[in-house]
Symmetry: C2
Subunit: 236 residues, 2 copies
């Protein structure tokens, strides 16, 4: 982790520890530099990250303010930190349904830009919130990037293992989603009825060098899930 | 519009005009500076915007690449430019259902942080794609910020009027959504059946100074809508 990324996380803790809410003003730059014992360029970069992330907003000539408009129980769609961060007030667990090395489905091969005879790790998990089914997730990891997974790793945070264990640099992701009616098998996993509503999400995760390495399909239980996004408008 | 924002848009046109697709490399910085006749700091800022927006990605020591993973017919959830940009291959129209100055609902007052006796413009529109109902939208604009609206303005692009006509600086927005079953009246607008799935989205739009000025509620027709987000991962 780079210095300014660390400081960005420390700043988030600072906001939480001081119970700062929407519209609250942060200390001025000089004071933040002293508080965190870093240079002006480091604190500026950290603040830029938090602005993009939607944690703060800066008003020219006026100061730096807390945005923090999180609603409890809402999942941050743009966060890569999994559900644990968004849903930290709740008990989130995973049931492992399947873990295997396979050849990809046609859809997975297409989205990962690989041939159908290349190997992938296939992981199917049922996520639960307070014991209730939250979503079913199927993931396809390119084995050429993620050479090894086991039951314990996939029961915990896979992304933590990827970044800390394998030292992979995660880059960007493309999300696609739509709403539809659940098929019978999907409904059974989620404790719902056939034709009940479902949110279907596909994500393609890329390394910082642009290589797609994980294709993930999630179906959310509409009774247990709500989402939020903190967006910035960069273009007029 | 600031110079670098203009150049960012020109760069998007350049990518489109040259039919560049995912993984294609852009010219090096020096050549881009010459091509667009701007300074290094302007082109760098323009590229930063496009990186945040998900149009490009930069690989250190390797170059600048096109991300462009848009799927046709998908709505960009993070775009402020309305549907016209995302759905430019399709004919998108609006039926105006209601335009009135009213006192806000309790929900709208709460989300706009105003009193219930303050006036708002209420706009209800049915959006159509190729003649089919795409979504029903209800918007509440603070009258203290948006002093005047008429039928012609709300039949066209309200946000274009706000930024170009009223010269408002749009800042950031908070999006919340969930999936549910349509009520009878909602289903009728969308040509669907009661209890069919619906995507319910709420957005709070803010000015650059942090003031909330527009609270919008949209219900999407699940048969006509799909969404995408190009995300960046700034924090580990």
């Amino acid at each position: 982790m780079l210095k300014y990324q660390k400081i960005a996380m420390d700043l988030e803790d600072y906001i939480e520890d001081n119970s700062l809410v929407r519209g609250d003003k942060l200390p001025i730059l000089d004071d933040l530099m002293k508080e965190f014992e870093v240079s002006k360029s480091t604190i500026t970069k950290a603040l830029e990250i938090l602005e993009v992330k939607g944690t703060i907003y800066q008003v020219r000539g006026s100061g730096i303010f807390v945005r923090g408009h999180r609603r409890k129980g809402y999942i941050n769609l743009l966060s890569n930190q999994g559900f644990r961060q968004s849903l930290r007030e709740f008990k989130v667990t995973s049931d492992l349904l399947e873990l295997a090395v396979i050849n990809p489905t046609k859809e997975a091969a297409h989205n990962l830009s690989i041939e159908m005879d290349e190997e992938v790790y296939y992981v199917k998990r049922l996520r639960k919130i307070q014991g209730q089914p939250l979503c079913v997730e199927e993931s396809y990891f390119k084995k050429s990037v993620v050479a090894y997974l086991n039951e314990q790793i996939v029961s915990e945070s896979i992304f933590k293992y990827l970044s800390e264990g394998l030292n992979l640099k995660i880059g960007f992701s493309d999300l696609f989603f739509h709403v539809g009616k659940l098929k019978k098998e999907e409904a059974e996993y989620l404790d719902l009825k056939e034709n009940d509503p479902g949110l279907y999400k596909e994500t393609i995760f890329h390394l910082a060098n642009g290589e797609a390495f994980d294709f993930s399909k999630i179906i959310y239980n509409y009774e247990q899930s709500q989402f939020y996004i903190q967006a910035n408008n960069y273009l007029p």
